[in-house]
Symmetry: C2
Subunit: 340 residues, 2 copies
Amino acid sequence: MSEQLSRGGANGNRKPSATIYDIARELELSPSTVSRALNKPGRIAAKTERRIRDAAAKLGYRGNPMARSLPTGRTRMLGLVVSDVTNPVFFRLVRGAEKACSELGYTLVLAESQESGELEYGTLDRLLPAVDGVVLAAARLEDDQIHQIAASTDVVLINRRVGELSAIVPDIDDGVAQAIDHLATLGHTSIAYLAGPAISWMSRERGERVFEHAVARGMIFVEIGPTSPDLVGGQSALRRVHASGMSAVLAYNDLMAIGLLRACRAEGIDVPGDLSIMGFDDIFGADLTTPALTTVRSPLDRAGDAAVRSLVATLDGIEPAAADPLPTEIVVRESTAAPH
Amino acid sequence: MSEQLSRGGANGNRKPSATIYDIARELELSPSTVSRALNKPGRIAAKTERRIRDAAAKLGYRGNPMARSLPTGRTRMLGLVVSDVTNPVFFRLVRGAEKACSELGYTLVLAESQESGELEYGTLDRLLPAVDGVVLAAARLEDDQIHQIAASTDVVLINRRVGELSAIVPDIDDGVAQAIDHLATLGHTSIAYLAGPAISWMSRERGERVFEHAVARGMIFVEIGPTSPDLVGGQSALRRVHASGMSAVLAYNDLMAIGLLRACRAEGIDVPGDLSIMGFDDIFGADLTTPALTTVRSPLDRAGDAAVRSLVATLDGIEPAAADPLPTEIVVRESTAAPH
DNA sequence: TTGTAAGCGTTATCAG
DNA sequence: CTGATAACGCTTACAA
């Protein structure tokens, strides 16, 4: 009997979990039969399969994902890369992706891409070799970096288009049309778009759509920014928004819109009396502000779900089904009103 | 030359990344030398090490985490299990854990434990064998289930104590003392605690602390609930809160407090005039409400960080350093005032 | 239907 | 300081 020496030197004395060898020995079968019985149901004598399954259950067999992934090259793990885990925009996205993964038998690994330089060493470097593919919701990565990632693993983008890479992009045109319509109907004739970071594809795209719809309506349009896509970005933009003389502003996202809202409050500017403010996304908290934020809702949860399903389909060698449109729509609350 | 057949049948024709064998061949060395050079720096001739590192860089060697984990039994992945990924309470927690993992060279896998039954098959079952340990912030799991998990992997709890398992629990006593003090100073003589789910250790703990401090102050105390720890839980509790006749209420968490706030607004109850409301945690959005929420801030980011560091220490066979106290404190905003 | 054996990329042990 | 060689747990031709 060889000494049972616990390798790894790590923690207490946990009994190593059962392997297919343990099952095989118990039943006097060969490991390969056990392996087959467990993951190719039906390709084996029904009775043998029963015995194997029973023994597996009895021994508490779990299966070692790492060992499995070595011969197959698949880990059944997917990465989700976001630029900032604390940004509420991503919550619904994460939820959608998580759920889809779970349903499809995959494990989701969440990573943050913060600064672009981090692509060299760090989280992403550790993540990439460990997953079968990644969903990228990282607005701050450069196109180059994305191509670089796509060179080593399968990729699905969210809220962004880069070359021919597959991407899930909600159809914002609808939502923007509704937004402009809403403002025009209220009587606004001028509008400002408060842009996010210059590198953000979605910020540019939203700006573009707003611009198109605004001029189609004969409205005055100006763009302000770029700014950081968060509360302080919105807050700091107030002076310029004010200086522009526009009666309504659409911010790149809700965080910025809320920041702007706060700044207005601090400065004694009445919203929506003096200024109508709208955001994008409808994040958690958008209905908690005073006034509650009117916004263009983005189906982030469905986007997360769709991205994962598309990725898994690709992994399985299936042409991903043409994604549904993922429409956006406005949610009218209290931060917009007729100008005076 | 054997046919280069792409295994896995998955995706396009990505070139398989370099292995230590490729490097060894290139340099006419043995794979073991390469392995040593790469992860035991110094234990090898400086010149050889140089050559190996250069070749590795040249070939774009990445290293295969799965292959590594097979002999070592360590995956350098940690799990973070939360009960609901969309609950804003967890954002700062996730951020703290993510950052610590990143710094320590680990990869964080996020999982949701939603219903307790899911422990049998599903996410957790897939997660556990793949990680070196887990951080559990899953208030809804039963003690039994946690013990079950702890039997197969290293565990650190957050905001909860179960047996002797290591746990990171902020010192709420301080925060609660401040909260009661604040209310007493304002002139409140009666207080309700709005409890979360009965299974939540933290909900009971907070209730207990509030109770103790309230009676110590000679205040009337009642407990209402249990309720679901979210907006609707708070909302639905209003009638009972109102019926209790208390002039102030402390909700188990901010989500519930905000729900209550909303319900008050809908019913025309003035906050803080008719009722003072406080929450716990200081989640994103707590300062966006009207009135802005007074709350007991919980250092969730530091808790996440501490949990990961403690876990990794245990994994490395080091006795985790006695954790700092992680004090809580109140953040006074607008939802509390003198009763009339 | 089942067994044999080779291999997946690393690390670790033991010689040289 | 470096090189064989044997694991690690599993999958998968190929044989029986």
